[in-house]
């Protein structure tokens, strides 16, 4: 079943009900002979009503069941894996991949995180055109959330950022760099001013650092990163000899919500986390590695600029408001015409014309109100809900072997938040490959 349909149908009933009560049906009863002489309610009017209802409900066509759906439903040929797999709508697959990847990464299940991110990137990495769900999301009577989810730019950037970390962990800094570059490209917005476009500090910094590791020139990327960070935040110079790369994240990421009179505006709420910075204390305090916040996803989410889809949702909202107003006007007109007809009939005059006018206006009003109620203006608020707020990085050179320490999160005054501190242990590789340590304040 198309999950969009119930949501589309639901608003129709409560809105259509009251409208029907004030329509032409309130016409006073006529004498039996008069009713007999009058033709039954105009067939053309009924046909028009039927046509309008068909138009309104046309958007609710249920797509044919896919073989995968059928298998999950328990039809013949269902495998154990099919039955075990939770029924995730295909359009939400990337969203589930995102969440599961972040959870796996934090739990140290790197292969699972890779598989999930690769699955997501296979969908978000291309250019989506001529997509039926996307077309439906742009239509009046389907919500934006009917489209396949790929996320807002800050979410897609994070998919590439995490995948880049995992590529680096596998000894492929050039592929990691490719991910960071694509992330920065996703954050670019040719429609908006350059101010907030491609402004992730870490993505440029890591791009250059990967180049430095590959014995190439990373100075341009470093300069871009420094420009994004500002003069007040000098970035550490590249240390190609570093063999331990620390990726840290803390705080809770931005949350989406729908605003506006018709919930047509996508907005982000970015609550500032108490964890403003972090540091890794190693080898019983002999080495302290600062992990300042270089990027803030709340900032990134709220500064990306508008979407073309916002314009479409705005048009939907405009239509909804206009149709609703037109419906009100038509229905009021129908009531007035009906009243006029009754008045004429009380005075023994012919009220047919006024009655027909009332019928026509009532029908038009009804269609308008139904169309307004069926218009889905809500912005898509599906979200990658286990993202961090702040991203940090540090590179150090450590002797091979096991290292233990303590990860401390600091408040705005630089004081440790004791309840948030974590014990950390990792083993530095003895070969040429970099050791990647992923540190997260988030538990899942």
């Amino acid at each position: 079943m198309n999950p969009a349909c119930p949501a589309t149908r639901t608003p129709l009933a409560p809105t259509a009900g009251p409208v029907a009560r004030v329509g032409p049906s309130r016409r006073p009863a006529q004498p039996a002979e008069e009713n007999a002489s009058r033709p039954p309610a105009a067939p053309a009017a009924r046909a028009a009503a039927l046509l309008a209802a068909t138009l309104v409900l046309a958007g609710c066509a249920t797509p044919p069941e896919t073989p995968r759906d059928a298998r999950r439903r328990g039809a013949d040929g269902a495998t154990a894996a099919d039955r075990a797999a939770p029924a995730i709508p295909e359009r939400d697959r990337v969203l589930h991949d995102y969440r599961a990847a972040a959870t796996a990464l934090r739990a140290g299940r790197f292969d699972e995180a890779k598989a999930r991110l690769d699955d997501a990137i296979a969908r978000i990495g291309g250019i989506i055109t001529n997509d039926a769900d996307a077309a439906k999301a742009r239509s009046l009577f389907a919500a934006e959330s009917t489209k396949t989810f790929i996320g807002e730019p800050y979410e897609r950037v994070m998919a590439y950022y995490y995948r880049g970390i995992l590529y680096w962990r596998d000894g492929e800094p050039d592929n990691a760099r490719a991910c960071f570059r694509t992330g920065q490209l996703i954050d670019s917005d040719p429609e908006q001013k350059k101010t907030y476009s491609s402004d992730y500090v870490l993505l440029d910094y890591l791009d250059g650092f990967a180049s430095a590791k590959l014995a190439a020139d990373g100075s341009d990327a470093f300069a871009r990163a420094q420009a994004q960070a500002g003069e007040s935040r000098p970035l550490p110079p590249y240390l190609p000899a570093a063999n331990v790369l620390l990726f840290a994240e803390y705080g809770y990421g931005p949350k989406k919500y729908a605003a506006g009179p018709y919930r047509e505006q996508l907005r982000f709420r970015a609550d500032d986390s108490p964890s403003r910075s972090a540091r890794l204390v190693l080898d019983e305090g002999r080495l302290v590695v600062p992990l300042p916040a270089y990027d803030d996803l709340g900032y990134q989410a709220t500064t990306r600029g508008g979407r073309v889809m916002d314009h479409i949702l705005g048009n939907k909202a405009y239509f909804k408001a206009s149709a609703d107003t037109a419906g009100d006007v038509a229905l009021v007109g129908a009531v007035i015409a009906s009243e006029q007809a009754r008045r004429r009939e009380r005075h023994g005059k012919d009220g047919d014309d006024a009655n027909l006018a009332a019928l026509g206006l009532g029908l038009a009003g009804l269609i308008s109100k139904v169309a307004a109620a069926a218009t889905r203006t809500e912005a898509d608020t599906r979200q990658w809900d286990n993202l961090p707020q702040r991203l940090s990085f540090a590179a150090v050179r450590l002797p091979p072997g096991e290292h233990r320490g303590r990860l401390e999160f600091l408040d705005r005054d630089g004081q440790p938040l004791e309840s948030r501190a974590q014990s950390v242990a990792f083993t530095v590789r003895a070969d040429e490959r970099d050791t990647i340590v992923f540190l997260s304040e988030l538990k899942r």
């Binding site: 001529n130 742009r138 009046l140 489209k147 490719a178 239509f319 206006l361």
Partner: protein
Amino acid sequence: MLPLRQRLALAATAASAALFSGCATTAGVQNPSGVPVTELRPDERGTVAGTGIESNEIVTITDKMARSILGIPQIARAQVPPSVVLEPIVNNTRFPINKDIFLTRIRTQLNSKSAGQVSFLDREMMKTLERERELKRSGQVTASADPNKVEFGGADYFLTGKLDGLTTRTSAGTSDYVLYSFRLTDARTSRIVWEDSAEVKKQGLEDAAYR
């Protein structure tokens, strides 16, 4: 002429149709369905940006490189089939990719098409091979030849390459140009004895629902 009530009904229908005709949500949005990705000649000027590296390019490019390598005198006229070692290629594009796929396909093409004109040394197996040799030397496993004799082959040539990319993004879409270049380097002289390249440019604009 139609009766009054039918005219009224038709007028109501027309009014409804007019209402719906004005309800296009994509008014003012260019290419709401997006523009399908199209492949262009590298020297052709596109209107925008593109997408990643795909299998058809890998096939076309590695076929071209394999044919090109077999045509050079150092391979075609060599008295003894030269030994080649593959070195990982470097990805300088914005597309993460399984880089080994290029060299693996060039190697398989050369091995299947060259009829012994060139041989490849399996350096990926070196650790396994060394371990096996040590087992033979220690007498833990049998040996069909003297295990103390050095028989691992040395490289005559190194085959490697790199992928470079250039990305453009405008309001009209995204365009990606990728240059695939491969080279064969003489292990003794460090001279590049062969080099060839291929280029692909793509562009596309995603559906308005994703912009």
